[in-house]
Amino acid sequence: MVMPNLSLYTTSAFIILDTDGNRVLAKYYNNKNSTIVQDAGSKSLTTLKDQRAYEKALWEKTKKAGGDIILYDSYLVVYRHSLDLIFYLLGPPSENELMLNAALVAYFDALSILLKNQVEKRSVLDNLDVVLLCLDETIDDGIIVETDSTAIASRLSSRPGTGGQEIVIDEQTIRNAYDTIKSRVAKGLF
């Protein structure tokens, strides 16, 4: 029997790849404390070469939509296709699949709110600040920080104006709020 993971370090990496398998961005959670997770049997992906090789191979396995989950090369991987991108979240093989998925869904939904449902390569690259901060609000060095997508999205401050003034509630905030409510209502109807 595999010893269950008793620590809060549940995620090993977060990756976004495009339709050609190229890295859009990737964050590997390799800090020294979370090595407990690595011991669970996953090989460590510490060098860029290993990471790229793994990403490429993983992409080969998952490029067709409609899988959502795979156990690949001693990592449990949940993934999600969105137009021309694939979002991956990696965890140790013994992790609870639903827990890992909850984190990915939270991140993805939060990002959808923030990018107004335009989760595709163009808008991800245009809004990298949002994409990165959103990830930071979801996962902190391997620990899942939040799974409530609305809360995550709302924690992201909007971009500052050109001057040095205090943050204001501008059009963007209101639009965000509107979108949020809209999606909430839509969810409620289902």
Partner: protein
């Protein structure tokens, strides 16, 4: 998609250019910066890292301190990005500790800024463990903050810091406890739907506050529980109490834990308690059972999985979990299906009957669009299936075989292979299927899997042999893979002559000689020769001779010609046939490999030819058993009982262990001169009890002129460091001179185990020194200050008495070696030494016990099943071994009688190629 190319090169080049960004980062130093510009630039800095770029320490430090200049700007949106950048750069830059005070400002308890959680989460990256005490007040208040993001941030930060600052963080246990018990968030935000109030709440009475929507996930409980467990980990009573308090009543509904992830952790803690304390088993099991009815799928699944993996779980206990998983199987969500089928497939290994209730649901998953789910479904079904369902299943599989990828086909074939062995009665059906897919298109791996499955059938199911061989013969008629053709030809050579009509195979093989490439032709020649030697019918031998001499002797390839010439000769002389064709022993490949490696590496050795007689032999059956074993051996760590994980330890063979030791020793420069290792002990001998303060085991390595003792030393005390750890050895007999000791400089609980080597010179390398050694562990013990983690300056010298180390005949000088006993025995009578002596083994209670202990002491191979006495009064045990270091072969015939009054009387006859070897064996029993 041409525009994408532009976008790729354009955008990425823009974002990718490290030097441009470092240049631009100078604007951080300007007095009046634009927050928007800076935020964009910081994004690009971090993004570089996320693309795989690296910064040198200097670059990172410059960027880091540039970034911290931006603390002067009050813009909240920029500040959030600054914290993010600080976090990412902190591990690479130097002197990061200097920004502590800037960050602390944002952590003030009254600060109602959106970035307060970010500040808290960044702080743990830059702070020195010794300073944690200084921020204690902030952390304590943040942990119990009403805002879940702040509380979670503080808890996650503390969790990251915990390994470095255990003692301080332990003092926060009350605050952490409070945040576990915090009431569900919805109750103090008065609105029943708090989600929208945040955004629309800018008219609320806190205008300066952040416009964030409070989380409804209660995930703070998860973080608090995780930290609480870390703090109390060592205290099983406290953990048990915690589980009882938080576990709630039946179905977990009464629990104050609302977060499903927190409950999942509780499930895992419960499992841990259950395993460690059998008395709690029932109570914890009841809790797990209750969680099966929780409203969250995640918790149901975690509990169900825990029960399925429970040690010694009964079918009754499994029923509920299996039905929970069964419901998941028909869920539309792939993740849920995957989770369920993965767990069931694991369970099917041990409890196929319990899983069988899900058979119908699993059959629906065979065609699932997620290939992993389909694969698990098939392999599980093949384990749970009964003989009746096999037909239906096979039909289903045949239906989609052509639609799936090669890799998936391999899994299916593997599963069918094991199914065939389980239901031999179905062999005709299976063989039909396998031969069918063998004709399909497919790559090498797939074809190999099929061929190996058929090989297994030939080996284990004799009814299928003739048909299976016929299928293989047909396959090689049109096989594009040389490797497979060669293996099949070899197998036909082994099995064909035993069949009723060997001639029908000869035609197929001869076709290969005519049509194939040189490698296959050579294999075909060897195969034909086996028919020639082994066939009962004299006419076959003649035909083979004709075939070999007519065509193969004129082959264009010299290997084929050589083989043909050799086998023609062999077929004429029965002695040669015995040696080259009918011999059923092979070299132990692992040993052969390691000896060849050391031969090649040793430049001096190449002047003499490699001595193959030093390599022990094993029988073919043994070799096959070894290669059938899954290859999952990676590295060998110095053995420690503490690390003996419950996760199915792979049984290493003695040979592999030895090769691994050889690598370990080769890494120590002091042993470079010693030459190759002649022998290493099979397994470490424990010199202490497993639960003492210091755990020591010993492995002995014999070199040509030296003996090296390897002591694996573990320090099990967490708060003590041992320095200059050495082992003092007192030889009881002469014959060995101590050379040196390689001590371990520093040994803590974390770095255990480490190795102390003690080297001795063998005074007379041609003799075999036996004897025992008194051993004492010597070291300087230093206590570690629990708060600072620094060991005290002055330690005290201490000793620890170990058990004696024995240098014995069997375990250290002799290795088992397979031989044809009668032939060798007679041969050695002429050429070698013979010695005979009689012993009274009065303490032996039976012949079997005597056999076992003789085999163990001498470490020799028992031949012809003589290790199991047929009679209770008289028995002869035949043993064969190889004395290391060129000592040559040695055989022992142990004739024993047993009577209940006198125990076992043993007449031991030893024959060896060399005299010292024979004396060694006698001494081992006599001494």
């Amino acid at each position: 998609m041409s525009f994408k190319k532009d976008e790729e090169s354009g955008l990425n080049a823009f974002y990718n250019n490290k030097s441009t960004i470092i240049q631009e980062a100078r604007i951080f130093n300007e007095s009046n910066v634009s927050p928007r510009k800076c935020r964009a630039l910081l994004t690009r800095v971090v993004y570089l890292l996320y693309l795989g770029e690296t910064f040198s320490t200097q670059e990172a430090t410059n960027l880091f301190f540039g970034t911290t200049k931006l603390f002067q700007n009050k813009d909240g949106a920029l500040r959030q990005m600054v914290y993010f950048t600080v976090k990412e750069l902190a591990t690479m830059a130097e002197d990061v500790i200097m920004v502590t005070s800037s960050i602390m400002k944002d952590m003030q308890p009254n600060s109602e800024v959106v970035y307060r959680p970010n500040a808290i989460r960044a702080l743990c990256r830059i702070i020195d463990p010794s300073m944690v005490q200084g921020v204690e007040r902030f952390f304590k208040s943040a942990i119990v903050d009403k805002n879940p993001s702040i509380s979670s941030g503080a808890l996650v930060s503390s969790y990251h810091l915990y390994p470095q600052a255990k003692e301080v963080i332990k003092r926060w246990v009350n605050e952490v406890q409070e945040s576990v018990n915090v009431k569900p968030i919805a109750s103090y935000f008065n609105s029943p739907q708090p989600s929208s109030s945040g955004y629309l709440g800018f008219s609320s009475p806190q205008p300066a506050g952040p416009q964030t929507i409070p989380s409804t996930s209660n995930i703070t409980q998860y973080h608090a529980l995780g930290l609480l467990f870390q703090i109390r980990q060592q205290d099983r009573m406290a953990i048990t109490k915690m589980i009882q308090q938080l576990g709630g009543a039946k179905s977990g509904s009464g629990s104050s834990l609302k977060n499903p992830m927190a409950l999942c952790m509780l499930v895992r803690y419960a499992v841990k308690v259950m395993e460690e304390d059998p008395n709690m088993h029932k109570q914890m099991y009841d809790l797990l059972e209750g969680w099966l009815r929780h409203k969250s799928d995640m918790v149901n699944y975690e509990a169900a999985r825990a029960i399925c993996e429970m040690r010694g779980v009964t079918p009754q206990q499994l029923t509920r979990s299996v039905s929970v998983l069964q419901i998941f199987l028909s869920s539309p969500k792939p993740v849920l299906k995957f989770a369920a089928i993965r767990t069931l497939s694991q369970l099917a290994l041990t409890h196929p009957a319990s899983v069988a209730t899900c058979n119908v649901d699993m059959e629906n998953l065979i065609t699932d669009s997620n290939r992993s789910i389909a694969t698990y479904a098939i392999t599980t079904l093949l384990k749970t299936g009964n003989e009746a369902s096999v037909d239906r299943l096979m039909k289903q599989i045949t239906g989609f075989m052509s639609e799936i990828s090669d890799e998936f086909k391999v899994i299916v074939v593997e599963a069918i292979r094991s199914l065939t062995l389980k239901f031999p009665a179905k062999q005709a059906l299976m063989l039909n299927f396998l031969s069918g897919v063998l004709r399909d298109e497919g790559g090498y791996d797939f074809k190999r899997a099929v061929v190996e499955a058929i090989f297994d059938m030939i080996k284990y199911i004799s009814d299928s042999k003739e048909t299976a061989l016929a299928h293989l013969c047909e396959f090689i008629e049109d096989c594009e893979f040389t490797k497979l053709s060669v293996r099949i030809l070899h197998l036909i050579g082994l099995e064909g002559p035993k069949t009723l009509q060997p001639t029908k195979y000869i035609r197929y093989i001869y076709n290969r000689v005519v049509l194939e490439n040189a490698i296959v032709r050579a294999a075909a020649v060897s195969s034909l020769a086996k028919f020639g030697v082994n066939a009962v019918d004299g006419t076959i031998r003649n035909s083979i001779r004709v075939l070999l001499s007519s065509r193969c002797l004129d082959d264009v390839d010299d290997e084929v010609r050589d083989r043909a010439a050799m086998y023609l000769k062999v077929m004429q002389q029965d002695v040669l046939a015995q040696k080259y064709v009918r011999d059923d022993s092979v070299f132990s490949l692992a040993t052969l490999e390691s000896q060849l490696v050391s031969y090649v590496n040793d430049s001096a050795a190449s002047e003499v030819p490699f001595d193959v007689s030093g390599v022990p032999k094993v029988s073919r059956a043994q070799a096959q058993q070894e290669s059938a074993r899954p290859n999952a051996i990676d590295t060998i760590v110095a053995a420690t009982p503490a690390k003996a994980a419950p996760a199915a330890p792979v049984q290493k063979t003695a040979e592999e262990t030895k090769s691994a030791y050889a690598q370990q020793l080769a890494a120590v420069p002091d042993f470079a001169e010693y030459g190759p290792i002649l022998n290493s002990s099979n397994k470490p001998a424990a010199l202490t009890e497993t639960e003492t303060e210091y755990v020591v085991s010993c492995v002995k390595h014999i070199f040509k002129e030296h003996v090296v003792f390897q002591f694996n030393v573990s320090n099990t005390l967490p708060d003590t460091i041992l320095e200059r750890v050495a082992v003092a050895m007192q030889p009881n007999d002469a014959g060995l001179t101590e050379d040196f000791i390689l001590p371990v400089e520093s040994l803590s609980h974390e770095t255990s185990p480490q190795i102390v080597y003690v080297s001795f010179t063998r005074d007379s390398p041609e003799g075999y020194v036996l004897g025992s050694f008194g051993c004492t562990l010597k070291f300087i013990s230093k206590e570690v200050d629990p708060t600072s983690g620094v060991p005290e300056e002055e330690g005290y010298e201490d000793e620890y008495q170990l058990e004696e180390v024995e240098l014995g005949a069997g375990s250290d000088y002799i290795v088992p070696n397979y031989a044809a006993f009668t032939a060798e025995w007679d041969k050695m009578k002429e050429t070698g030494t013979s010695l005979t002596e009689t012993f009274a083994l009065s303490s032996m209670g039976s012949l079997k016990a005597a056999c076992d202990s003789l085999i163990e002491i001498l470490n020799m191979e028992a031949l012809g099943g003589t290790e199991n006495p047929q009679s209770t009064s008289v028995h002869t045990l035949n043993l064969s071994g190889l004395v290391t270091g060129g000592g040559g072969k040695v055989l022992a015939r142990c004739r024993m009688t047993f009577s209940s009054g006198q125990g076992v009387t043993l007449e031991l006859s030893v024959r060896a190629e060399q005299d010292p070897a024979a004396r060694l064996v006698l001494a081992a029993i006599g001494g």
